[in-house]
Symmetry: C2
Subunit: 206 residues, 2 copies
């Protein structure tokens, strides 16, 4: 498959959400125009985004909603479940683990780690917080495909190295730091503080 | 000023964080190479990013750390404080309001709103949860510059319209939905569930 831009993948996620809503309301077909208006983009962009993945719908007929939901779920890797480890049992981690949306989309947080002795061993939404020192042993025993790094900035790179060493190829990083990882490892960095700075930049420089 | 890409602004935020660490350790100058290696980019990119904003440092001399911290804070709009309203007193909102990092960077959450009668009137980190129905009156009485939308997807657009109507031009949206706003309004959408889908896409399509 051709290289697909992150922005395209993000729009596919948005389209899928709208299509699922349509499906729940029993709508059989949608036009690219309807998808576009909900996705904040143009019909041409919708058609281009979908063209990466073969043919969807017929010209003038719109897209068949249930079929497209199934295809997009397949494309996005959501037709299966993913095992996720959470590193960092702090406030953000806590909000994440209770986030209903993750499980609904197929992401199961199956292990949580921290280095704080006051947290290790405590119960967390049906899980027990494990000692970060035992990360390798624990994840060899019960492997995961995805790790969420919700730790302080200065701890993030070291943990990313250890995760990469374990063969984990997908990291969601919520620390405001750019991780250096081998090319086969996919990292998404999301920092709300940095997004706020993007807004203050925009307000200041207009 | 020329139009600056979001990715550039994000790197400026990263550079600033590194420079602040250097400053705290008493380092007087850094090279573009050092900044680049910490920012996961190249020296050429660092120089290009900074060139948007006039001259920093002298060729071969490196960048003067404290001066550059001050300039980057000015550029990013962090040389002042911002008043922020939080809409949605749920789990994510709760993690946000207790997030030390926001206040440290100059973002003060000064008001919190929800529509759940069980939450309205309760205390929240020194604030009282206000009724979303009274949003306009409350924000006219005590204006804010930035709003964080931490509400369910189907409520996000309606609230964005009301915020825009109040003249708020900067919205951080954590609902997995693309908001439609007038061109002068800056929106950053951050959805951890969507980032996870980006990772499952990458794991599935490689």
């Amino acid at each position: 498959m051709r290289k697909v831009a992150e922005s395209t993948v993000r729009r596919l996620s948005l389209y899928l959400r709208f299509l699922e809503e349509f499906a729940a309301r029993g709508v059989a077909t949608v036009s690219s125009g309807e998808l576009a208006s909900r996705g904040g983009t143009t019909s041409a962009q919708v058609r281009k985004d979908l063209s990466f993945f073969g043919s969807f719908g017929k010209r003038g007929m719109g897209y068949a909603v249930p079929e497209m939901v199934a295809q997009l779920r397949e494309i996005l890797g959501l037709a299966r479940r993913w095992r996720v480890a959470l590193l960092g049992a702090g406030k953000i981690g806590s909000a994440l683990i209770e986030h209903r949306g993750f499980r609904e989309r197929g992401f199961d947080i199956v292990a949580v780690f921290d280095q704080d002795p006051r947290k290790i061993g405590t119960a967390w939404n049906g899980l027990t917080v494990q000692d970060e020192a035992g990360l390798e042993a624990a994840l060899r025993r019960a492997p995961v495909e995805i790790a969420i790094l919700a730790v302080p900035s200065d701890a993030a790179q070291g943990l990313a190295d250890r995760l990469t060493g374990l063969g984990i190829a997908a990291i969601l990083n919520v620390a405001p730091v750019q991780l250096v990882v081998p090319p086969h490892v996919e990292v998404r960095t999301v920092s709300l503080a940095m997004e706020l700075e993007g807004l203050s930049f925009a307000l200041t420089n207009r």
